[in-house]
Structure formats: structure tokens, C-alpha cells
Symmetry: C2
Subunit: 536 residues, 2 copies
Amino acid sequence: MYVVQYADDIVVIDCGSKFPDESLPGIDLIIPDIGYLLENRDKVRALVVTHGHEDHIGGIPYVLQRLNMPIYGSRLTLGLIKGKLKENGLLGQTQLIEIHSETEVELGAIRLGFFRTNHSIPDCLGIVFYTPEGTVVHTGDFKFDLTPVNNQFPDIHKMARIGEQGVLALLSESTNAERPGFTPSERLVGEHIEEAFKKARNRVFISTFASNVHRLQQVIDAAAATGRKLLLLGRSMVNVVPIALEFGHLTMPEGMLVEAKEANELPRERLAVLCTGSQGEPMAALSRLASSTYRQLEILPDDTVIFAATPIPGNERNVAGIVDNLFLLGANVIYGSGTVTGMHVSGHGSQEELKLMLTLMKPQYFIPIHGEYRMLYQHRSLAESVGVARENIFLLRNGDVVDIRNNMAVNSRKVPAGNTLVDGWGIGDVGNVVLRDRRHLAEDGILVVVVTLSRNEGTILTGPDLISRGFVYVRESEGLMEEINRLVVLTVKELQESGELVKWSILKHRLKETIGKFLYMQTKRRPMILPIIIEV
Amino acid sequence: MYVVQYADDIVVIDCGSKFPDESLPGIDLIIPDIGYLLENRDKVRALVVTHGHEDHIGGIPYVLQRLNMPIYGSRLTLGLIKGKLKENGLLGQTQLIEIHSETEVELGAIRLGFFRTNHSIPDCLGIVFYTPEGTVVHTGDFKFDLTPVNNQFPDIHKMARIGEQGVLALLSESTNAERPGFTPSERLVGEHIEEAFKKARNRVFISTFASNVHRLQQVIDAAAATGRKLLLLGRSMVNVVPIALEFGHLTMPEGMLVEAKEANELPRERLAVLCTGSQGEPMAALSRLASSTYRQLEILPDDTVIFAATPIPGNERNVAGIVDNLFLLGANVIYGSGTVTGMHVSGHGSQEELKLMLTLMKPQYFIPIHGEYRMLYQHRSLAESVGVARENIFLLRNGDVVDIRNNMAVNSRKVPAGNTLVDGWGIGDVGNVVLRDRRHLAEDGILVVVVTLSRNEGTILTGPDLISRGFVYVRESEGLMEEINRLVVLTVKELQESGELVKWSILKHRLKETIGKFLYMQTKRRPMILPIIIEV
């Protein structure tokens, strides 16, 4: 999420989500911390969304619950946002305003214009903010696909005009700033898909991102060219295709789509299956097909399975596991890097395209965005190579602000920003202590020690009772448990004799310490120890 | 771990370890399940180790505790094993027998010979088992490096002789069976390292696997050629280098090694630092240098940092995080795939080398080993392409046995095999229930509900008391906690009235169910619920 503010007018750009890594156990989703927007609630004019990918729209249903604002987006982008709002029962509560590359919008003192870009989803827009201080451009995610599948060419002439009129600051995405060259056209993938379809003697299963509508179109074309019907598998595939058909982003021969029942009755060389799960997601269609747990359909020997997507870093192991299973089923599998198989090209511009954008926009100030630090760093080098002065380039971290006044830009202050964690219905309620406890519990489990003491004499009435979860089986560790019982009795007695038993906190602390030390010595493990003292 | 058995003589090959993924929380290490060896304890003649990598020797200290056996290995391999045994207080309890490529060993009815191979660690051996039934060859990990750094050439002539004499079965490693071509010589990396050292104006930090002694030699050579002293950082680097020097696998100019204090006093262009952490390991030297938490030394702007290793799948994110931090420090970072940077070549043979091994050995039966299923699958295709009949190739899974009798091979039985989990001192004592509990605890934490009931009437004496760990803060969730208290009182009352309170198990079950449902409705989370009933 980025924010452009002029005086008392705030325009928010995108509102994404990301998935947690293993350091955040139990967390479902990470969304932006909107502390700054909540503090400046009355100044927020709108949310403008560049395109419909999850890392740009995924946070919307959660953020809207705390801050309602009108949303501007292109047709497909709004279509996908509507789906999200519907799922969360939020439809109708927020104003949705459709825009396209020729729309102009006034939001307080800021006038907005747009330009069309290419990316791995249709209907993407770059945003131009005309402010009294000067023009700010945000590219959104982009590549320059000069032979786009849908013939929606990038607005290069418009970009050139914007640049000629003078750009105060450019914010440009950095995903592929480490990659030399020019990202190949999506059309290249279509040729490889068609070739593989022609070669396949039996069923073809092909998996890609549901939102990559251009690629879906090329799969449809290949199926049509080889006389195959098409079965869609996986929730997001079944969701996206009708929206894309409705808005004219996809076209398909009449009667091409079949349901699983009909698909099973077709000759094997007459069926193509378009499914989710190209990143090895364990619950997605391809993973279930590979482990033969998909009830409706099975993969048979000599079927062809195509991964039309390169594994995103972190997903390699899951993808590899699925490939193993597919080979076990006897399938011909086309997998691995798209650069080798030809079955994937990136949706992000490589170094030459980033340089082209910089050249077109000729910005006075440059802020590389949308990338890890090393990518921003490389993007800075690219900007310098096309003539932007290093002191005019800002490598920002979450919360950093660039203030521009009288053509002078400084990055000297921060606003609250960062990650808000979503867990179940809770937004932002899981904090560091809870996460630390979860990690501790995951590592070595928990041992609950219950003792009932008499209110007056402090003698043990019942227990100690030991309950272990995620540590050891109590039943198989009787020796260990007896030793702990002995330690508890001893500790109570010691405190009784020294007169310290009056405070349960001292007993609890002593039990934790004593049992913890003992268990580490015996097992080299450190379960969480939870002493419970009942006073009767 | 593989086993070759002839009648009553068992020879074990290698005994590795691997690290758990996130599905095994709290587990330290995975080693082979040696159930079959324990059942046939009296037949086990020896463990023969092909080379000193962790995935071939890491399980030895754990397995020896349950099954002592003489260990055969080359000089460096035994040196590294000795280090492990020493750490675990096991040195002196096991017979260690040094072998080299010309050694012959009799183990019962099996005669063993060896041949030298190249790999990313020196002193690697392939093993030949001469049995009355025929000859079995196990390659170990190998590549064909025809210009090896240490001039220890692969024993190609010997392999050819073994093949000519007739090989009944070949077991050959499959790591790079998916890669076309011929793996480049390690010498190539040396050239790139020297080039980078010459270009660097300040300190050079270079990180690689400590066991890749050939690469260490090339770093030493580059440092010597550019007049730099050398500082070693990281435990395994400090451990391995002296062993390799002692055994003559490394040579170094007198006085080249410096300690941190001296290193800090050298002019910046006179120091090279050889460190661990090329895979982004969070506690290794490079990670700590990158986050400026290494007390002895810091990375300064314009220092050069070289990753002389490609990230292993699964490690990309950690490595990328370190690269980000290094750029933040202002370093020049050489990172990414070794194919691009020239700073890494694989230690495993690619497809043409696997075909060369198959061609040299001309086996009747072929068993591709040491790889995920898709690699074994590709290795089978390679074997077929050089003339091995498909029906003579066995793709095995853990525990599968190939029995060969009168030249007929069948794979029709299994023996106990698989993973043994190590957690602290415990070997194999953490089972599925404990792991399931750990995963559950990690996901949503635990809520402990304590109630004291009077023995006779079953009325509540104290409580309910609620203790939450990894779920919510009790203090910040007072409303929720009050509701749960109300539910507990209600549940006890209901059971009292229906006369079911006689059995605590019914109460416990009812509490779990009621509270669980309520919490899921309120929070969409499923903490583990642990009811504790005390009877006084």
C-alpha cells in the first residue's frame, strides 16, 4: 500500500495481502497497518487500485471494516474486488467507481489520470497524480508486452506525453530489477502450450494462475485447435473464468466447457483440464489429482501434465513433491523453470523495460517500489544508468515518507506502518507474546502441573497431576513423571519450611525453574511448563 | 543408507541425516530407521562410508548408540567421523578402518574393492561388492571432473575394468539426473573467484560449504595471489580447515591465517574472510555479519561479499534476506545462481556423466539411487537411452528390497525402513500424536480450563480458572473469558441434573465440545482445549 498526499487530501494506492512464513504460526494473512490512515481518517479521499492481484487487493475486505472509502479500479479489477466483498458480506457498503485508461478523476486538490500497462492479468493501470506541487506517477506492476495476447497495447505514446510534460516523482515497480534483458511476450507461452497439446496422445492437464487470463485464453485456443473440450478444476479457476468471459477478456467456442461427469466419458485425447495448484498449494486441484484424492477425476498413465508457471521462491519443495507423485502415476510431466520449458514468462518487466519506463518518464525524483531491498537497490543502479542523479533516488522502507516542497525532496520522517496480522476473525489482535508462545509450544510442547493445596496449612490435597501435550506421552514416560512428582512435593515442602509458601507466585516460579532444569537435563528439551495451584 | 546383503553377511553403506521441514516442529534431525539391522544384528559386518558429507555420515553417532559396527572410510571421511564421535563422547568405542581406492576388504562372503570419484569434498570412493552371485557397484556421489583442483583424477580406467569384468547390478546416484549436459569442472569457479578478488578494492568476504575443500583451496590461492591474509569465521570452517591441512588436502602459505584482532588491524585490501552461512543459515557467520551482530568484525561500505554457492531449494528466502541486509550495509554483493555468477558448480554429475557411468559399468540390472522420485525417473530414461532394458531397472522407495538369485532380479518385498526422528536426547521417541499436538498448539495455542468439584455433590468449589497460551491474552479478552466461565458453570449444572456427572470423562468431553464450538464461532480459531477437573 502506498499513499499520495497533497495538503489535506490523501489518495491510497492498492491494499494487498501476503501469506505469513513459518515464523508466524497460525496467522492466516498479513495486511497493511493503516494506523496513519486511521489518524487522518477525514483526509482520505479514495482507494485507487492498479490491478486485481492478491498482493494489491487482498487486504481490502479487512481494511474496509475499519476505514470505509470509495474504491476506483478498472472493470476486471472491480469485478474481482466485488467477489471478495461479497464473500465477506460487505457488498453495497462501499462505493465502487469503474475507471479506464482515459478516465480523469478529481479527488480534492489532486487530479488523477491513468495509462494502460501490460501484466499477467488484464486491465492494469498506471496512475498519474497531478498535484499543485507537480506530477507524481505510480506505474503499478508492468511489463512492456509489444505483442499482447489481447491486443491491448501498452500506452507508450501517453507515457511519453506524461514524461514530456514533466514528472516530479516516479514510483516504479522493482520485481525483476535483478533480471537482465527484456521479459518475453506472453504470446511465446501460447506457442509452447499449443505444441505440447498437439504432441499429447491422451488427456492434458495444465495448471497456471487463475488470474493470468491471457494464459487461460491461450490454453482455450490450444484446446480448440486440437479438438479438446475443457474442464475447469479448482475454486479460483471456476470463479475467475466466468467473470473474464462476462467482461470480454476471454472468448471461448460455444459448448467447450464440460463438467467432470461428461469429461470422464470423453475419449482421452478429447479432454483438456485447466486447474489450479501450479505453485504446489496442498489443497489445490493439482495437488489432489497428483495424490489421487480428487474424487471426480483421476490422472492415468501417459496423460500429460503441464506446469505453466515457474515455482515462486519458497514453493519449490511443494511443487517437487507433486511432480514426484505425478511421475508415480505414470504421467508425462512438463515442469521446472519456465525459461527452460517455455511454459511461463514473467508478468514483470526486466531491466531493459524498467530503463524504458524511466526513460519515458524522465522523473526528477525516483522511488523504486514493490520489491525487496536488493531489488530496489538494483533498480537504483538502473535509474542512475539512464541519468537520474543518485541523490534524487530514495530507497524507502515501510513507513518512510518523502516530502516534496518547492521541488525539494527529503526523506526524514516516518509514519506508523508495517504488518497487521489476521488470525480467524481477529485483525491485529495476535501480538508478539502470543506468537512467541505458539513457537515455543510448537518446538517442545507443554507440561501442565496441577497441585491442590489446603488454604491453611499449604499441604498438598490432590496431585501433583501432570498433563503433557506435544512433549512426551505421559504413559510412556512414567519414570520421568514420577521424578517430576517427587520434585513438586519437595519444592512445596521446602517453601513451606522456609515460610515462602504464602505467595503462589513464588511457588509457581520455583516449580517452573526446578522442573525446567530437570527436564532439560534429562531430555535436552524445553517444554513450556504451566504450574496450576488450586487452593481449597 | 543402503544395505548389500549376501546370505548371512550384511554390509551397510552410508548413514546420513537430514533436517526436518516445517511439518515436523521441534525435531532436530532425521536419521535412518535401522529396524532391519537391529533384527539382523548378528549379520551386520560393517558400515562402509563413501564420503564425509552430512547426508552420508550425519546419522552415525545416533545409530552407533543402538548398533555398534566397524566403520570403513577414506582418510578425510574418517577424520570427519572422528570429530562427530568425539563431540558425542563415542570415540574409542568403535573400530575405524582407513581405506583408499586400492584397498581390498573381506567381509564374510563379500569382498570389497573401491574406485576414486570426484565430488564437492575430497577423498570420495565408489564401492564394488564382489559376491558369489555377482558384482554390485555403488557409485557414491560423483561427478567426472577431468581437471580436478587436487589432481586426484577419477579412476576411469579402473571403472572400465570393473565394467568389462561384468556388473550384475549398478546403484548410481541421481541428484542431477534432471540436468542436461556435463557439470563444469570445479576449476572454473577458481578462475571467477580470483577475478573477483583482483577487482575488489577493500575486504573480501566469501562464503561456501566448509566441506568443499577444493573450493577452499581456490579461495586460499586467490587470497595468496592478491596479497591478502585469511580469516576463518564459523564453527565448521574452523573445524574443517585444520583437518584438511593435516591430511594434505589443503596447502597454504606460512602465516596466512590471522585471528579477528589482527584482521581488524590490517589495511582493508589486505584481508579476505572465508566464512560459513552461504545457505542463509540464521546462526552462521555470514548471517550475523549481515545483521551486524558479529562482535569480532563488521562489514563496511564497499567491501565485497561473495556467495560461492547456489541456494539449495528451500533456502532461497533466508539467503535473499541476507543479501538485502548486505546491500543495506553498502557492500558489493555477488549472489544468485552459480550458473550466472560462475561462483558455484555442482558436485554431482549431470546427464552426460550419468550416462558415462552407465556406459563404463554396463550393468545387467540398474537401480538409480540418491534422489527424489522424479530424479530416479529421469535416471531410468538415461539408462534406457544407453541400452539398459526397462524391465531391468528398479525405481525403489525406502524399504524396498531387490533380491537377485541365479541372475534373476525381483523387487517383491519390503523391510522396515523410513525416518527416525531425533529430538534432544530422544531418538525415535517423538511420535505422530506428539507431532500432531505440536502443530495444533502452533496453529492456535491452548486454553486450559480448571474446575474444582466437590466429591459428593459435584458442585463447583473453585474456578473455572482459564489459562491461555498462544491463543489470546486473557486480560484483553475479558468478555470472551466471562462467556466461557458461564458455559462451564452451565455445562456442569446440566450434567448434574441429568445425572451424568459421575464420570469426569463425560464432563471433559462436553466442555471441550461446548467451548470449542463457542470459540470457533466467536474467533474462527480452534485452540486446543484442556479441561482439568479436580475432585476434592
